[in-house]
């Protein structure tokens, strides 16, 4: 059998795609290039499946209905369909000097609901991912406590467990765009954001076991990795909702997320949720370490800087349409997106199609939880008109997501962190979507 040329395959696929539904067609075309590359590499073996595409459509019985599939434990730990290989974390290499101390973003454009699958949770490390043997991992609690303690993982898992759905966001999410739009895709404008069900023990339970002395007002949390990442956390937060977690979305933490143990400060900047947690010291004042002085402080226009800027304020973004998800057909369209607030619960989201001149309320869908991603939706019609589409969330404190102009007026453009402004996508009459800012 002769190897088909790339051109032949593309024509075949184009033809086949005419028979697909709108969504299928879009995905199909988007994947076309990698499909063709793969087919060319293995030669004629895939020709049958490529030319057979129309034969899998009604009224024909598809190929997979006329043969057997693979058996159980073919993949003892299951994998996504091979047709979903484009749904991965991605990085922007020029952001950091090197991948050991860097960040990757979650593919928000491809995610459904509010839970981020474990393999797609965004990554941030300062000395790479350590390979920790849980049998040799310890959590030490000391300082202003009556009984300094060391816990094994087995010890920690004996405590009554709690499971809570919470988002984690890097405070630098969107931080590349203070001066103007830079990134061409949702994954890079907002992808330092994920949401999981976390399982562990409230830190206050562990601190109670150690007996915090009355002078104890802050803790220092420290990681076991090469960065020995350290942050000072005020005791009020710990009494409120800080967790020490060992599991996410039903399984033990992924190494990238701190296996076997991490801190979780719900709604606060991700950097405070120390991964590979090994030590908690109780003290009477903050430590002013590198990650709370040199970094993770917000420089204002006048040269002064905010510190201990813990809360991730109310934010939202439209995930469809977005640059990765252009509109491919006129007619019915569900506009969807994600909203979140570190101060509590999302109360509502408004959507503008005209760059913020007028707004319409969207619906909140599914679970609406404290400090969790919240999905919103608005059903509409699109007839090829150009849009400047925006979402604006508000939370149960009454805080309304601000405009970028308002943030710049207060903070200037050099604060890097905590840019939670209303985001704009420009939808062209072709359905193509671009990242823009309105000034």
């Amino acid at each position: 059998m002769a190897t088909p040329s790339t051109q032949q395959l593309l024509q075949t696929m184009q033809g086949a795609s005419e028979h697909l539904s709108t969504n299928d067609r879009r995905d199909f075309l988007r994947r076309g290039v990698s499909y063709v590359a793969g087919a060319a590499a293995v030669g004629g073996a895939t020709l049958a499946s490529a030319t057979g595409l129309t034969s899998n459509l009604p009224p024909n019985e598809p190929q997979w209905g006329r043969q057997l599939g693979t058996g159980v434990v073919e993949n003892p730990y299951g994998l996504p369909s091979r047709h979903e290989s484009q749904v991965v974390r991605r990085t922007v290499p020029w952001l950091t000097a090197e991948s050991i101390s860097s960040i990757s973003m979650s593919p928000l454009q491809d995610l459904k609901g509010i839970i981020t699958p474990n393999g797609l949770v965004f990554e941030r490390y300062h000395a790479g991912v350590p390979d920790i043997n849980p049998d040799e991992h310890r959590l030490m609690i000391h300082g202003l406590v009556d009984n300094p303690l060391i816990f094994t993982m087995e010890d920690l898992m004996r405590f009554p467990s709690v499971s809570e759905i919470k988002f984690i966001e890097c405070p630098a999410n969107g931080g590349m765009e203070w001066r103007g739009p830079q990134m061409e895709a949702l994954q890079f404008t907002h992808g330092m954001l994920s949401c999981c069900e976390w399982t562990g023990v409230p830190l206050k339970v562990l601190l109670d076991a150690a007996g915090v002395q009355t002078a104890g007002k802050w803790i220092l949390a420290e990681g076991a990795d090469g960065a020995h990442m350290s942050r000072s956390i005020p005791m009020e937060k710990i009494l409120d909702d800080t967790l020490v977690v060992y599991a996410q979305n039903g399984e033990m933490l992924r190494p990238e997320q701190g296996y076997p143990l991490r801190l979780l400060n719900p709604g606060w900047e991700g950097n405070t949720s120390i991964k590979w947690l090994r030590r908690i010291e109780v003290g009477d004042q903050p430590w002013h370490h590198r990650e709370e002085t040199s970094k993770y402080t917000d420089l204002m226009a006048d040269g002064r800087a905010r510190r201990f800027t813990f809360v991730q304020e109310c934010n939202s973004v439209i995930t469809s349409p977005c640059p990765e998800n252009p509109i491919v057909r006129k007619g019915f369209l569900e506009v969807e997106g994600l909203a979140w607030t570190g101060r509590g619960t999302i109360k509502g989201v408004d959507i503008s199609f005209d760059g913020g001149v007028s707004w319409r309320p969207a619906q909140l869908k599914g679970l609406v939880l404290d400090k969790a991603l919240t999905r919103f939706s608005l059903s509409t019609q699109w007839q090829g008109e150009p849009w400047l589409i925006q979402s604006r969330a508000y939370d149960d404190t009454g805080y309304v997501q601000p405009t970028l102009a308002q943030l710049r007026e207060q903070r200037g453009v050099n604060s890097i962190y905590h840019k939670n402004s209303i985001h704009t996508w420009q939808v062209a009459p072709t359905g193509e979507v671009k990242n823009v800012q309105i000034t």
Binding site: E98, M183, H228, W287, L299, G303, R304, V311, R392, E409
Partner: protein, 340 residues
């Protein structure tokens, strides 16, 4: 991994039953931490100097250590190499359009420097410096910022007394700092809207724009891309024919060297791809030829046991104590034979 043997489980159940449920919150879980155990892990230094070890150091002694352990990333004068942090300079720039945030211009406390160097530096071998070296390097970085003289003896008694220029430049978070009314109609004048578009060509967008000539999506991909562009540029000047370097190498490499490539990728490439910590880049044949004059055996010993020289610093096995001697030796052969 956390599974208890059945007998232990039975014992635990029995113990529960025996104790009863008189106080269900009395967990009695965990082991007392001894003073020795705490001392080994309690590495933090506070702004008031609490936690500083007994000792002292100065910039004169710190210069040599700084050049070995720090200069390859942070620059000889703290000016920063590539995208690595700038340590010195930038005074008076914090309100500028492009502020330069350094130890001298931005950091509020000198203690943070000692704490951070001890816990996380040098990047490739954290926790490997002794207290004397940390005092010396801390003094040298303060000296680079004109905050102490070169013969100032920095110690546990005076480090926290050093007043950093920007100590009073911070204030506690005062957000929410904006109030946006939830306007629903006529919120802006449509004629006044100005649309600013994204810069194109700087986002790795190959995943959704077909045929997009996007930058690579990984650091190693970016490195390869830059290397191949450089090779193309050189070839265009010299008129040389570009040959597939991979095919060329595989033809001449020993089996050990080929086996060493995997180790190189997971361990050595961190520094030898980018030149981090003064490492000779894999692609920098000139740098390797100089080193090769010492012989492969010496290079292998340096890789296994560690080495500090004028160009930079190599911890034993690159800081990867988990690698076998054989894996490291093969990786050295891979790097050496890549130069042929």
């Amino acid at each position: 991994m956390f599974r208890l043997p059945k007998s232990a489980l039975a014992l635990a159940l029995f113990a529960c039953a025996a104790v009863g449920a008189s106080n269900s919150q009395d967990y009695q879980i965990g082991t007392a931490a001894t003073a020795v155990e705490i001392a080994g892990w309690d590495i933090d230094i506070r702004a008031d100097g609490k936690g500083l070890p007994v000792g002292s150091g100065n910039a004169i002694n710190g210069e040599e250590s700084y050049e070995i352990f720090c200069a390859s990333c942070h620059g000889v004068f703290g000016e920063g190499e590539g995208r690595w942090p700038v340590l010195a300079g930038g005074e008076g720039t914090l309100a500028d359009d492009r502020p330069v945030k350094t130890v001298g211009s931005y950091w509020p406390y000198a203690s943070t420097l000692f704490d951070y160097i001890r816990r996380a530096m040098p990047f490739t071998a954290p926790m490997s410096l002794d207290d004397q070296q940390v005092y010396d390097i801390t003094a040298y970085v303060l000296y680079l910022n004109d905050l102490i003289g070169e013969d100032f003896e920095l110690s546990q008694d005076n480090l926290a007394q050093i007043k950093m220029p920007n100590q009073d430049g911070f204030f506690v978070d005062n957000r929410p700092d904006v109030s946006n009314p939830r306007c629903m109609a006529d919120c802006a004048d449509p004629a006044s809207l100005m649309i600013q578009s994204s810069l194109s060509g700087i986002t790795p967008i190959g995943h959704f724009v077909e045929g997009a000539d996007a930058p690579a999506s990984s650091h190693s991909g970016q490195h390869d891309l830059e290397a191949s562009k450089e090779a193309e540029r050189k070839a265009a000047i010299t008129g040389e024919q570009l040959v597939s370097s991979v095919a060329q190498k595989n033809a001449v490499m020993s089996a050990e060297a080929i086996a060493g490539e995997a180790t190189y990728k997971v361990a050595c490439g961190v520094c030898h791809d980018s030149g981090l910590a003064g490492a000779p880049k894999l692609a920098d044949t000139d740098a390797w030829l100089t080193r090769l004059q010492q012989g492969k055996e010496i290079l292998t010993i340096h890789a296994l046991e560690g080495y500090a020289g004028a160009k930079g610093y190599m911890p034993a096995k690159g800081g990867r104590a988990d690698l076998s001697d054989e894996a490291v030796t093969n990786a050295v052969l891979f790097m050496v034979e890549s130069q042929q």
